[in-house]
């Protein structure tokens, strides 16, 4: 049992910290968020150059071969900077699907490009009726010669606008909520029959609604087994949850540190706010939430590769519940303790609060995962 970072992981941490410090003052981020694509292609190229895009990808396909702990280190620092580049969509999820379900051809052709920053991916899974159930899929994929024709709608697909290819879930058989019969397809963003409505999200990212009307794909577009998409999604989304927990921990730590600092400098009634016991105790509760969130982040990172599928699923859901609860408390209290300043767009506190709030909705909120946990 050892919770320390290796020398390489520490170096990675230092290097991401430096990037965030230099490239991500709030003003720079504000400018990026206001652009058409919502992030910086220069930053993306720099991430490729620094080896971060290739970090979790296998060495035989030009990757670095990093593990979940490396991803955690990187994502935590991204969380501290509120980084808006499509790392989660493209590398964690897109790369995750290619590694877990891609054919040799997919891997040979796409993984090196992904790691080099020459290819971006997105993942469309949510539908209007599905809420958080990955297996509630009404999009249809009908057999068409060797290939398929796809029809249906996918909602809130993060970073679809700038993705070269999009992974979508569609039903090849079974009823609309069956786990069996879901297939994953890799479709081109500019393919005929696909229309996209792009928009910004409340926390500064980009997402799209996708409408597929007769999108025609060949057999080579299938990722993994036909009808076996549910297991593949569970695996990759589990990894994404572990990564987003780390991002959330980074966000929470920033809020906890800056709120503590603020209470020591803000003077009211002739004394710093930090002298009021009611605020001291609130701060301690925030600190304890941060520590608990970090514990669960370590836990899920270390258990994401567990052989026992029940233990793996429990770890994922438990972590998501704790992160949701802690993120809510730390976010809300940071705004509260900053008073009116916490309400302003000018201060970074509100931006972290918004990101944490939206992280809870990603891949199932705390209520959803509590129910998953109870059912396991």
């Amino acid at each position: 049992m050892d919770f320390s970072l290796s020398e390489e992981q520490q170096l990675l941490k230092d290097s991401v910290q430096r990037f965030v410090r230099e490239q991500y003052p709030l003003e720079s981020r504000r400018k990026l968020v206001a652009t058409d694509i919502g992030y910086s292609e220069d930053n993306w190229a720099k991430m490729a150059e620094l080896g971060w895009l290739a970090l979790p990808l296998p060495e035989e396909y030009g990757g670095i071969g990093g593990g979940p702990v490396d991803t955690m280190v990187l994502m935590e620092e991204f969380g501290r900077g509120l980084v808006v580049e499509p790392y989660m969509s493209s590398i964690i999820i897109g790369g995750g699907f290619l590694m877990a379900g891609g054919s040799d051809k997919h891997k040979t052709e796409l993984l090196p490009k992904l790691g080099a920053g020459e290819l971006k991916l997105a993942f469309g899974y949510a539908e209007r009726q599905s809420r958080f159930d990955l297996n509630d899929v009404e999009c249809k994929a009908e057999k068409n010669g060797d290939g398929y024709v796809l029809n249906g709608h996918k909602g809130v697909v993060f970073h679809a606008q700038t993705a070269d290819k999009i992974i979508v879930s569609a039903r090849t058989s079974g009823g609309s909520r069956d786990a069996d019969g879901i297939t994953l397809f890799l479709i081109d963003n500019n393919c005929s029959g696909l229309t996209r409505r792009d928009y910004p999200t409340v926390d500064g990212l980009r997402a799209s609604e996708l409408q597929m009307d007769g999108v025609t794909v060949g057999a080579e577009a299938v990722l993994g087994k036909v009808g076996g998409g549910a297991a593949l999604m569970e695996e990759v989304v589990g990894q994404a949850i572990a990564a987003i927990c780390a991002e959330a921990v980074g966000c929470m730590d920033v809020l906890q540190e800056t709120t503590n600092e603020y209470l020591k400098t803000r003077v009211q009634f002739g004394v710093p706010l930090s002298k009021f016991q009611v605020l001291q105790h609130r701060m301690v509760d925030m600190f304890m939430e941060c520590e608990q969130a970090r514990s669960m982040c370590y836990m899920v990172t270390l258990k994401i590769g567990d052989e026992d599928p029940v233990e793996r699923a429990k770890s994922v859901s438990a972590a998501k519940v704790q992160i949701g609860n802690s993120g809510r408390y730390v976010g809300q209290q940071s705004v509260q303790l900053h008073g009116g300043m916490g309400m302003t767009d000018e201060l970074h506190v509100g931006h972290f609060f918004k990101r944490l709030t939206m992280i809870d909705t990603m891949f199932g909120n705390k209520d959803h995962h509590l129910k998953c946990y109870a059912d396991l």
């Binding site: 049992m1 050892d2 919770f3 702990v69 020591k264 930090s274 701060m283 520590e291 669960m296």
Partner: protein
């Protein structure tokens, strides 16, 4: 990062398990499992067994009878004891006063007191709180006035756990009223058989007799029973409190959860087991998530160098969880939380139980566990400590 235990740790765990199986009688384990009342003999029996193996005081220095274990092994050892339903070690001697004696005591004091603690001949209790000094411990008023070779002690201590069994009490006493309140406190070891000591029971809301009042009227205490220097007792007291708050709780919490789960599987609601009821299942799952979080919080702190602050937040979160589990257990047994038959809480009760036998301790334990957020420095005091020590407020 790696969360696997090393092979030598796993071998160690197997050895502990085997020892418990071979040495803990079934009826004693059963008492612990069912949450029944334990007698002094039960505690002493198990402590002597552990001592026979050299495992009673593992955290002591090796030359005094401790064991050279890694933090992981200490953690495993505590957890295995709980998993195996061993009676808990009574901490006042071995875990609390002993570290003060071997850290600040004289050689004579070490030779005189440590062997009796090690073989459980001497039962210790803790004289800290007073009727007028709870969270504000430094305001304590029990007086010790030097008179030749003796101190003359007058005053009262309260909430003294298991003082009814005690041979010795370690006491914080006031030796001067000058300077800050903390600067006039001394640490005295007092023989409970001394003339002038009176112990009276305090019955708590669960109906049990765990704590007592201890009154001192002109009690004569030889000066050689003073630890360290006069008026420096506050330093020793704070040192001791770290040990009081640094017990691993996750093993006990998991045991509480196992009991609760078992009950929720047997209780019925609408013809279905209670654990399948959505409202109860959600509460149970929420509790399990928090317990898993706590467990990893504890594991992270193993062998860390900041025991003070960590001890405080582990105490807050751990005792919250103890209370939550006892509350869920009481909810789970529904109407059968009502019957209160004192003898049913003692092993060997021969009459048929009223309702399921797991229901009898549910309400008393719920009421008793309200103490956990109050004792060893209330959870509000822990937050004061954290805001100063960690957050620098």
């Amino acid at each position: 990062m790696d969360m696997h235990f090393r092979p030598e740790d796993l071998a160690f765990r197997a050895e502990v398990r085997q020892f418990i199986q071979a040495n803990l009688p079934g009826d004693l384990a059963d008492k612990v499992r069912r949450g029944l009342h334990l007698d002094k003999e039960d505690f002493v029996f198990w402590q002597k067994k552990l001592n026979g193996q050299g495992w009673f005081a593992p955290h002591w220095p090796v030359e005094l009878g401790g064991v050279d274990w890694t933090p992981t092994q200490h953690y495993m050892f505590q957890n295995e004891q709980v998993e195996g339903y061993c009676p808990p070690v009574i901490p006042f001697g071995v875990r609390m006063v002993a570290p003060v004696i071997f850290t600040y005591g004289s050689d004579e004091q070490k030779q005189r007191f440590l062997p009796d603690i090690l073989d459980s001949t001497a039962w210790w209790c803790q004289g800290y709180s007073e009727p007028g000094a709870g969270s504000d411990l430094a305001s304590l008023q029990t007086k010790a006035v030097r008179n030749g070779d003796h101190y003359i002690v007058n005053g009262a201590k309260t909430w003294t756990t298991l003082a009814q069994y005690a041979d010795w009490i370690f006491c914080l006493v006031r030796t001067t009223n000058e300077g800050k309140p903390q600067e006039g406190i001394s640490f005295l070891l007092i023989d409970m058989k001394s003339p002038g000591i009176e112990v009276t029971p305090i019955i708590t809301i669960d109906g049990s007799h765990e704590v007592n009042s201890v009154f001192f009227t002109d009690v004569r205490v030889p000066v050689e029973n003073l630890i360290g220097q006069e008026n420096l007792g506050w330093t020793y007291a704070k040192f001791l409190l770290l040990f009081e708050r640094s017990n691993s709780l996750s093993g006990g919490l998991k045991q509480q959860l196992r009991r609760l789960r078992g009950i929720a599987e047997q209780e019925l609601t609408g013809g279905e087991p209670l654990c399948a009821d959505p409202a109860f299942a959600a509460q149970l799952a929420g509790y399990e998530v928090q317990l898993r979080t706590y467990e990893f919080l504890e594991l992270r702190t193993l062998g860390n160098s900041r025991p003070g602050a960590e001890a405080s937040y582990l105490k807050i979160i751990g005792t919250d969880l103890q209370q939550m589990a006892s509350e869920l257990t009481l909810q789970a047994v529904a109407y059968y939380g009502n019957p209160y038959i004192r003898d049913a809480l003692v092993h060997g009760y021969n009459e048929a139980s009223v309702g399921p036998d797991y229901a009898a301790p549910a309400a008393p334990q719920y009421f008793n566990y309200r103490k956990t957020a109050i004792y060893a420095g209330s959870n509000e005091i822990q937050r004061n400590i954290l805001s100063k020590a960690v957050l620098g407020m």
